[in-house]
């Protein structure tokens, strides 16, 4: 039920013995000193989440998600000097991936439209054809509804649910309080509820 991604932890860590946040900070320090291994390690621990969130943003287009993941990391390396460590590296990276996605769909040669329903790629590993189709359709409807949200809410919802960012991490990125993020989520749920009930009827 809960889609728990390996990274980053949604509860912000602190209770486990191995603290991913601390590990990450250590890697970023080494990275700044030019340690290539640290960079590789950072990619290894972050890319699955970045790919997964882009996969959902792209409506299940795996190839596009992979391309955008690659582009996101290129941008991140270029922007590295600007990374001041005010947030977690992964959080900062998510923001870059999100912007990369938005830039992509706003391009004239766009492949994935935010208005049109994208073809949803079905994963073979999941059993039950009917259930699969139903959930794929549901995912498509949901994605359209999410992408139609105002930017502030859209970013919050996708970062939290698809990017695996904790409320606190989004709050840091957005320079607001955790409560403000929760409010955004509630507002988004309300709007999604209205949109989805309209869709269904």
């Amino acid at each position: 039920m809960n889609t728990i991604l390996s990274f980053p932890s949604r509860d912000g860590g602190g209770t486990t013995l191995t603290d991913p946040e601390a590990d990450e900070a250590e890697l970023v320090r080494s990275l700044r000193e030019g340690d290539r291994n640290a960079a590789e390690e950072l990619v290894t621990i972050t890319y699955q989440t970045i790919y997964a969130s882009l996969f959902r943003l792209c409506g299940g287009d795996g190839d596009l998600a992979a391309d955008l993941t690659q582009e996101s990391y290129r941008r991140a390396w270029a922007a590295l000097p600007q990374f001041r460590g005010g947030s977690r590296f992964s959080t900062w990276l998510y923001r870059i991936a999100y912007t990369t996605f938005l830039n992509h769909v706003r391009r004239p040669r766009r492949v994935v439209s935010m208005d049109e329903e994208a073809a949803v790629q079905v994963q073979d590993s999941r059993p039950g054809a009917e259930e699969l189709l139903a959930s794929a359709e549901e995912a498509g409807i949901l994605r359209r509804a999410v992408l139609a949200l105002p930017d502030e809410l859209r970013f919050t919802v996708t970062a939290h649910f698809w990017g695996g960012l904790a409320v606190r991490e989004i709050a840091e990125l957005e320079h607001v309080t955790g409560a403000a993020i929760r409010k955004r989520l509630h507002k988004a749920f309300d709007m999604l509820g209205v949109t989805l009930s309209g869709e269904a009827s």
Partner: protein, 507 residues
């Protein structure tokens, strides 16, 4: 189709496994890492960034100090609001003027005060005669969300009592409570006992059993001896705030009926609940305020979580019951029972007109209480046709059950029945018998689901009563233990945060 609620949307957003990245992507990403990574992090830039950070730090410090001041002001506001709230209640005409009612209300108010001051230790129960006789009054109170004037007026009359006196009284009450707890009051058998007393009894003993209890009492004793005399203005405000707490607590504690099984063995609960309570409670706490007690609805908070009830292997629904000795028990008779329903996730198997019924066996169960549903109480009655349940729908109800003495382990405690119609109009009934042996586990051996539901229920009670910080701290320790079994669950992590916030906000 009905509008999907917050839970549905959260479920949809979180649905599906994380997609696996394609093969070769990681290698491509590694290959893309530039040769000169340190470029741009040159010394002079670092220096600039250092100065910039210095300025930022200074600005942040100023902002933090400013925010602190603002927060202090904001923090004060709810108490002022409470005063207004109480004043409004106080001016409302009193509906009950009988001496009995007053006596009971005073008892309620006392219970509230004691609960507030002593972290949930229970007051002495009044005589069984008084309890049964006064029940209708309490019943009225439990039915009406706007009751409380009489409790308040009594509480107000007591304002004159000095703090020291009240503390002394509290200690006396605690002493008596221990006796009561050791020998369960026969009052529990008198139909029907007053909810306040029963609830106090149930809730209270628990904290008496907390390991930190001695330390807490020490703190209280210190407070009672060395608390400096407040200035008259402050004293007036403190008293008003205290009365506010009492009036709120008295009302909250008089709801949630303990039902005598002889009188009414059958309990029902609505299978579809609103979900606004979690949003209200969490946003209040995250904004540094205690939620308005009326917004705290235990059944909705309990249902915010995703229990491990499995999807039906066959048919439309699964019914799961589990019980254990209550962590809040005043004596060994107190148990908690969780009833979990999960509807088939197959959209072809619709569930219509679903009605839930829990029938307790009077030979085994003395009394029971459905946790929450004070404000959603009428839902079942108002919907005799039952509820239509969407695929994937889940609901959990929690009962406090007082099992009688010398009940054999094989004895039947109750039966849970769910009646519904399938999409094809076929009438079905799922039934599950609960035996004493299903309920007899110790709390530490209870499933993580039951432990979580019990924790949420106690937290809700704490918020409704506006209990003490010490209680919240004790709950925080329990939360830490429970959350260990729910590692990775975002909602449980959120709960732990909110319980922590509760502890910071309670007096």
């Amino acid at each position: 189709m009905t509008r999907p609620d917050r839970n549905d949307i959260e479920r949809m957003l979180a649905a599906g496994d994380a997609p696996k990245p394609p093969e070769g992507l990681l290698e491509r990403l590694h290959a893309d890492i530039p040769e000169d990574l340190a470029t741009g992090v040159k010394e002079e830039k670092r220096e600039i960034s250092f100065w910039r950070q210095g300025w930022l730090a200074a600005a942040s410090l100023i902002a933090v100090v400013g925010m602190g001041y603002v927060m202090l002001r904001v923090f004060d506001t709810p108490e002022f609001q409470n005063e207004a709230f109480v004043a409004e209640r106080a001016t409302a005409p009193s509906t009950e003027t009988s001496p009995r009612a007053e006596a009971l209300s005073e008892f309620d108010a006392d219970a509230a005060g004691v609960g507030n001051e002593l972290g949930g230790t229970a007051p002495a129960a009044p005589s069984s005669a008084a309890m049964s006789k006064d029940f209708p009054v309490t019943q009225v109170a439990s039915d009406d969300a706007r009751t409380g004037p009489e409790s308040f007026s009594r509480a107000q009359k007591r304002q004159g009592a000095s703090r020291d006196e009240e503390y002394r009284e509290s200690f006396e009450v605690t002493g008596r409570e221990r006796v009561t707890a050791a020998a369960p009051a026969p009052a529990a058998l008198a139909p029907p006992p007053p909810p306040a007393a029963a609830q106090a009894e149930g809730r209270a003993g628990a904290f008496a059993q907390e390991p930190a209890n001695d330390r807490l009492e020490e703190t209280r004793a210190e407070r009672s001896v060395s608390a400096p005399r407040p200035t008259p203005a402050l004293a007036a405000r403190t008293d008003a705030a205290k009365s506010a707490d009492r009036s709120i607590t008295a009302r909250a504690m008089s709801t949630g009926e303990l039902v005598d099984t002889e009188a009414d063995p059958v309990s029902t609960f609505g299978l579809r609940l609103p979900d606004s309570s979690w949003a209200l409670v969490s946003s209040a706490l995250m904004n540094g305020r205690l939620p308005v007690p009326e917004s705290v609805r235990p059944e909705e908070l309990i249902n915010y979580f995703r229990y491990s009830d499995t999807e039906p292997a066959r048919g439309e629904v699964t019914l799961r019951t589990e019980g254990a000795e209550s962590p809040m028990r005043a004596d060994a008779s107190e148990h908690l029972l969780r009833v979990g329903v999960r509807v088939s996730s197959n959209p072809d198997l619709a569930v219509r007109g679903a009605k839930m019924q829990v029938e307790f066996n009077p030979d085994s169960v003395e009394a029971y209480r459905l946790v929450g549903y004070e404000q959603n109480k009428g839902r079942s009655a108002a919907m005799p046709q039952g509820d239509d349940l969407a695929p994937g729908h889940r609901v959990t109800a929690l009962y406090e059950v007082r099992v009688g003495p010398e009940v054999a382990t094989s004895a039947q405690v109750g039966t849970v029945r769910l009646q519904y119609e399938t999409g094809k109009g076929e009438k079905k009934e799922v039934e599950q018998v609960i035996r004493k042996s299903d309920m007899g586990r110790s709390w530490s051996d209870a499933s993580r689901d039951l432990q979580l539901a019990g924790l949420v229920s106690d937290w809700a009670s704490l918020l409704q009563r506006r209990g003490s910080q010490a209680e919240a701290a004790a709950l925080g320790r329990r939360a830490a233990a429970v959350s260990g079994k729910w590692e990775g669950d975002r909602r449980v992590a959120e709960l732990v945060d909110l319980i922590r916030a509760t502890a910071e906000l309670l007096p």
